[in-house]
C-alpha cells in the first residue's frame, strides 16, 4: 500500500513538473506562430538534413537511414542538453529554486524533467516515424523502454550534478565543455554508421560511451537488433556515474551553496 502511495506521489509530482516545463517552453516560444511545435520541427528538419547529406546508399535505404539518424539525434539532444545546460545551475538558478519551494536536489530534478519534456516530444516524432516507416529490426526491443528511460533519467541527473560541480571547482571547464560536446557530436555514430569499417570510426563506436547509449536507444525502437553488450556497458557506466554523483553530492551539497 505504501509503495503505491509513494508511486502516486512521485507520479503526481512528475505531472506537476511536466506541466511547469510545458508552460515554460510555451512561454519561450510565445513570439512564434507554432509555439512548442518548433521543438519537434527543428529535430525533423535537422535530422532530414543530416540524413540527406550523409546518406549511406550502400548500407541503408533512405527510410532506414532516416530512422537511424532520427533515433540517434533524439538521444543525442538529451545527452547534449544534460551536459551543456548544467554548467551553472547552482550559481545561477539556486536562488530562483529556493523562492519556488525547491532545494538543491529539487532544482536538478526540475531541470531533468525539463529535459525529459523535450525528449518526450522528440520521442513522439520518432515513434510516429517508426510506425510509418516500420522498424527495420522488429519490435522486440520496445519492452526495454522502461529500462532505457530509468537509466537515462538517473544518468542525466548524475552527469548534470557532476558537470556543475566540476565547473564550480574548475571554471575553465565551462568554456571547454561546449567545444567538447561539439566534438563528441561528430565523434559519435549519430549520422555515420557504427558498423563502418574505417579504423577511427570503428574505434570511436567501440570506446566512445555515447555510442553505446545511442545504440540502446536504436535497439528499443527496432532500428538496430538488440545487443546485450551495449546494455551491459550502458548499465555499468550509468551505475558508476550515479554512485560517483551520489558520493560527490553528499560531500559537496553544503559547501557549494556557500560558494559565491
Amino acid at each position: 500500500m505504501r509503495f503505491f502511495q509513494a508511486c502516486r506521489r512521485v507520479l503526481s509530482l512528475g505531472v506537476r513538473f511536466l506541466h511547469i516545463s510545458y508552460l515554460e517552453a510555451r512561454a519561450e516560444h510565445q513570439s512564434t506562430r507554432i509555439g512548442v511545435l518548433w521543438i519537434p520541427l527543428q529535430t525533423l528538419i535537422f535530422t532530414a538534413m543530416l540524413a540527406l547529406v550523409f546518406r549511406h546508399a550502400e548500407t541503408y535505404t533512405p527510410a532506414q537511414f532516416f530512422l537511424y539518424v532520427l533515433s540517434g539525434y533524439v538521444m543525442w539532444q538529451f545527452i547534449q542538453s544534460t551536459v551543456n545546460n548544467s554548467v551553472d545551475i547552482i550559481q545561477k538558478k539556486l536562488e530562483f529554486a529556493i523562492h519556488n519551494n525547491l532545494d538543491l536536489a529539487g532544482i536538478f530534478i526540475k531541470l531533468l524533467i525539463d529535459r525529459l519534456f523535450e525528449f518526450l516530444i522528440n520521442l513522439a516524432v520518432l515513434v510516429v516515424a517508426v510506425l510509418i516507416l516500420g522498424p527495420p529490426s522488429g519490435w522486440q526491443g520496445v519492452v526495454l523502454f522502461p529500462v532505457l528511460l530509468a537509466t537515462m533519467m538517473l544518468t542525466s541527473l548524475a552527469v548534470s550534478y557532476l558537470v556543475n560541480i566540476v565547473t564550480i571547482y574548475v571554471p575553465d571547464f565551462a568554456s571547454l565543455i561546449r567545444t567538447a560536446t561539439r566534438f563528441v557530436f561528430f565523434a559519435s555514430p549519430i549520422f555515420w554508421a557504427a558498423g563502418e569499417q574505417t579504423d577511427v570510426r570503428r574505434f570511436l563506436a567501440q570506446y566512445n560511451p555515447v555510442a553505446h547509449y545511442l545504440s540502446v536507444m536504436r535497439q528499443v525502437f527496432g532500428v538496430e537488433p538488440v545487443s546485450p553488450l551495449s546494455w551491459m556497458v550502458c548499465l555499468a557506466l550509468s551505475a558508476l556515474l550515479v554512485l560517483v554523483a551520489a558520493l560527490v553530492f553528499r560531500g559537496t551539497q553544503s559547501f557549494v551553496r556557500n560558494l559565491k
Binding site: 506537476r16 513538473f17 506541466h19 511547469i20 508552460l23 515554460e24 512561454a27 539556486l94 536562488e95 530562483f96 529556493i98 523562492h99 519556488n100 519551494n101 525547491l102 532545494d103 571554471p171 551539497q253 553544503s254 559547501f255 551553496r257 556557500n258 560558494l259 559565491k260
Partner: protein, 249 residues
C-alpha cells in the same frame, strides 16, 4: 500548523575563489565581516555562533549595518546557505523573498508567473485557475496582469509579489529589505496586502533599516553586528539601543 526555526551555535561562511592580491583583501573596512585568506578561497565569516529559536507566532525583524549578517541569516533560514558548524532545524514550508521579483521571471506575464508559482508551491491542479484569478484581483493590476513583469514599476511588482505570497504562502515568510519598495504609506491596497500577509504567516522574519516598517510589521528585533547577535528583544528597546550605538559610531 506548527512552525519553528531552531538555530544552534551556527556559523556560516561564504567562500570566494581567490583572485587579485590577498593582502589587499584582508584589510578591514567600516562594514562587513572579516575576510580570511585561505589556500584556494577567501572565506567571509558572515555569521558566528548564532543561536536563535523562533516558534509559531514569532514576528521578528533583523537590523544591523551593511554586512552585519542579516541577509545571511535569512538565507540560512530559507536553505539557500548551509552552516559550517552548529545546526539549523526548520519545521514548516518556507516562502522566501530575498529581493523584489526573486523567484518570478521578468519575461513572463503576471498570469503565467502566478500559474507557475501555484504549481511550484503545490496548489492542487484543480484550484490553480481560481488562485490565478484571486491573485489578479488581490493585486489590482488589471490589464498589466497580462503583460510581462519586466514592464512593471517597483510598486506593481510588489503588488504581484505580495499577492502571490499572500495566496500561495508557506508557513514561514522570510523577507529581505526589498519591502521598502512597498512602503505601507504608498496606498491602501499594499497596506492591506501587507497586513494580510503578516496575519497569514506562522512565522515572519524580515530585514529592514526602516524603523516604521519594523514597528508596523514585527514585535521583536534581532540586532546583528559582525555576524553575531548583539541584542534580541522588543522592537522599541532594541531599536533604541541600535540607534544610540549608531549615533556614537
Amino acid at each position: 500548523m506548527t512552525a519553528s526555526i531552531d538555530i544552534r551555535d551556527a556559523s556560516v561562511s561564504y567562500f570566494l575563489k581567490k583572485s587579485g592580491k590577498a593582502e589587499k583583501v584582508s584589510e578591514r573596512g567600516a562594514v562587513g565581516a572579516e575576510i580570511v585568506v585561505g589556500r584556494r578561497y577567501y572565506e567571509v565569516n558572515a555569521l558566528r555562533a548564532v543561536t536563535l529559536r523562533l516558534d509559531t507566532g514569532s514576528r521578528v525583524g533583523l537590523i544591523g549595518i551593511n554586512g552585519s549578517g542579516k541577509s545571511t541569516l535569512l538565507k540560512l533560514c530559507a536553505g539557500a546557505l548551509a552552516v559550517q558548524s552548529g545546526s539549523i532545524a526548520v519545521q514548516g514550508k518556507i516562502s522566501p523573498q530575498f529581493a523584489l521579483g526573486s523567484g518570478i521571471k521578468g519575461e513572463l506575464t503576471g498570469r503565467l508567473n502566478t500559474q507557475l508559482k501555484c504549481l511550484y508551491m503545490g496548489v492542487p491542479q484543480s484550484r490553480i485557475k481560481e488562485h490565478v484569478e484571486e491573485v489578479k484581483s488581490l493585486s489590482g493590476l488589471g490589464g498589466y496582469f497580462e503583460l510581462p513583469v519586466r514592464s512593471y514599476s517597483a510598486g506593481m511588482r510588489s503588488r504581484l509579489v505580495m499577492s502571490l505570497m499572500r495566496l500561495v504562502r508557506g508557513d514561514i515568510i522570510v523577507m529581505d529589505e526589498w519591502i521598502s519598495a512597498a512602503d505601507a504609506s504608498v496606498n491602501k491596497t499594499i497596506s492591506r496586502l501587507q497586513s494580510d500577509l503578516i496575519n497569514s504567516a506562522s512565522i515572519l522574519i524580515m530585514a529592514s533599516h526602516s524603523q516604521r516598517i519594523l514597528e508596523d510589521w514585527v514585535d521583536q528585533l534581532v540586532w546583528l553586528d559582525q555576524g553575531q547577535i548583539r541584542e534580541f528583544g522588543p522592537v522599541k528597546d532594541v531599536y533604541a539601543a541600535y540607534k544610540a550605538w549608531m549615533d556614537k559610531r
